[in-house]
Symmetry: C2
Subunit: 391 residues, 2 copies
């Protein structure tokens, strides 16, 4: 038996209901408040942004999660990040949890809060409070897609992915990275499973998956104040830890690629494979360096086979790069090897780069570690979105 992708929602898991509503934070009655509710408290683990400027909901959610190590509800608003909002911001995030808790008749520490949107403005709490009350009334099993839509900012499509292994389900939703009109920031990911997992193991399993997926994508090199990845497990179905890890890896990689592909202004998904590195860390750092390079990303936007920029970007990491050993491929085309620029058909490579998904392989030939990273190209549209749309 193997993990298979399946078109189901988180609400297909027993005991999970949700709602996605519009409370007026976004224009045009777009969905902007999401609520996920469980019939009973379940184990959960979360990872938060490494940015030391942390948004209020992160501070509050971390504190809540630490109390029981469990959650029974998740409330998320889009449109306003509640970051750099001081004490009032903390109170507002707490009020969100309290309002959910009161409606559901549960402890407020069982409510996990997240926000995404513009940094540096207070939440419009009147709208959010009425949104929460509304959402609590319309919880259902058939609102999975609405929840994914309600956490979107300038994402161009909702990001939902699910995998199945027999009767074990893992299902996740994500909101893309890159800052967006009006200055939306933040990557948010919420994953639920009906698997039974040891609480201690969950943390380790989640970190492993995140390190190889969400930590390997870059839209613009900027981390946000609100980034959050949450995993909860209802504990219904037995499964071996290593098998669950495989499924979670599959799912998080799928969601990470969706986020990368939907980067602001992006016209293509770029996949960077670092192969045969001396360490996993080096493989990952090098991959991230390439996918973060403005010059590489701009070249790819223009379909330019300017591979010198790729080598310059890995050199920038400070890691020793042995050009005598490296093979550099754009798609199937070998463009550099044995410290020599190779003759190749430049037009063929340029044609390849016109695809919606392109791949670069850097084979270091120094060890046995591989890593993959993903990102989008850097386009004029990215600059437009981030420079002009708000003003």
């Amino acid at each position: 038996m193997v993990w298979k992708f399946d078109e189901i929602y988180m609400t297909n898991i027993n005991g999970v209901r949700s709602a996605g509503v519009s409370c007026g934070l976004k224009e045009d009655n777009k969905l902007d408040l999401a609520l996920i509710v469980l019939d009973k408290p379940v184990f959960a683990e979360a990872m938060f942004t490494k940015n030391t400027v942390k948004a209020a909901p992160i501070i509050v959610s971390k504190r809540h999660l630490e109390k029981y190590g469990m959650i029974q509800a998740i409330v998320i608003n889009s449109g306003q990040a509640n970051a750099c909002t001081g004490e009032k911001g903390i109170k507002d995030a707490e009020m969100m949890a309290e309002r959910v808790a009161k409606n559901l008749g549960i402890d407020k520490e069982l409510v996990f809060v997240a926000s995404t949107g513009k940094i540096g403005a207070y939440l419009e709490m009147d709208k959010i409070v009425s949104g929460i009350d509304m959402a609590c009334k319309v919880l259902s099993k058939n609102s999975g897609r609405k929840v994914a839509e309600a956490i979107m900012t300038t994402d161009t499509f909702p990001k939902i992915s699910s995998v199945k292994y027999g009767d074990v389900v893992i299902s996740g939703i994500a909101k893309g990275a890159g800052m967006i009109h009006p200055d939306m920031a933040t990557m948010l990911v919420f994953i639920g499973t009906n698997a039974k997992l040891e609480k201690d193991a969950m943390k380790k399993i989640l970190r492993r998956s995140v390190d190889r997926s969400f930590h390997q994508i870059s839209i613009d090199g900027c981390t946000s104040t609100n980034d959050t990845v949450l995993l909860f497990a209802t504990g219904e179905k037995e499964i071996k830890e290593n098998i669950f890890q495989k499924g979670l890896n599959l799912l998080t990689e799928d969601l990470a690629k969706m986020i990368a592909k939907d980067g602001e202004g992006a016209t293509k998904l770029i996949e960077i494979r670092i192969e045969k590195a001396e360490s996993l860390k080096k493989a990952r750092v090098l991959g991230r360096a390439v996918i973060t390079s403005n010059l590489v990303k701009a070249a790819f936007a223009g379909g330019d086979d300017n591979w010198g920029r790729i080598l310059a970007s890995i050199g920038q990491t400070g890691y020793i790069i042995d050009l005598n050993r490296i093979e550099l491929y754009i798609g199937k085309y070998l463009v550099f090897a044995k410290n020599e620029p190779l003759r190749y058909n430049s037009q063929e490579v340029k044609n390849y780069l016109k695809n919606r998904e392109v791949m670069v392989r850097i084979v270091l030939n120094e060890g046995r570690y591989n890593a993959t990273s993903w990102g989008s190209d850097l386009t004029e549209e990215y600059v437009k979105i981030n420079a002009y749309y708000r003003t």
Copy 2:
């Protein structure tokens, strides 16, 4: 007596002659080969890119400089970087030095070589060799500006600055950072002085100045394979070390700002001042983080007072940011303090951001260290230059 800026060239220094010629590496007969020659060998110090993928001229120049610790000539070509060109690249760089040495009748190890331009293509040595022969024949005292022009790639203006303190002169030329049509990379800086400096002190003095100037600018966050800063001193005029340091700081800061201002596609110079930090390192790292943030740079391109991105960018460094203490100014406007977003006239700040030079102050209120960094805004033109012009 104080250091004063003066409109003179490096060739005003006794014993310095130069030439800037066109040898066909660039189109339209643009100047593309520069030669600076001294009547006798003089002490010199250089700093090179930290990128571990180093261009051939850097490897050769480092080796040459280590032999005597002196130079008698500098040869620079623009248009081709001679990077990622393997053994042949090294031989080509050596041949450049040898050709200059032969023409001048000096040791080849007294010749310093630099290149700037596209990575990953071999030098057109026939053109370069004839360019060197030509340059050696037209060395003069009145070619200072031509030399600065000959090292340009897509810089929009030659970068020349000089300071005087009595009869002590320090004069420098620079070529801008950011990669450019056709994929020009590399920051190059050459500084000459008639001051008498201890060889040991030169290294220390140069590093101090570079750390606070060229190491604090960013166009696109990408370091290149060819970055080089060279200082030579003819030793004619006595001066105290600390006074010379001040003059060199003044000069390097001036050149650094010119480079930042002339970033690809730039419409404005952004100055970031980190004040009252607990350490100099923290002040510098935070400043670099802001000036490297795509989101901050894109916001400034659009004249958007989106200060949340500034706080997010310093949080990304991993340094603890105490929002309770921070004051954030855009120009003279205080926008955030004591962990509170402040009420201010957003339109006034937007108007301020329309200026050609804008300034941000982040007062940390935790110590006594300050640092300034500079960069350009991120515009659609930057993307165009780096995506489409070559293809």
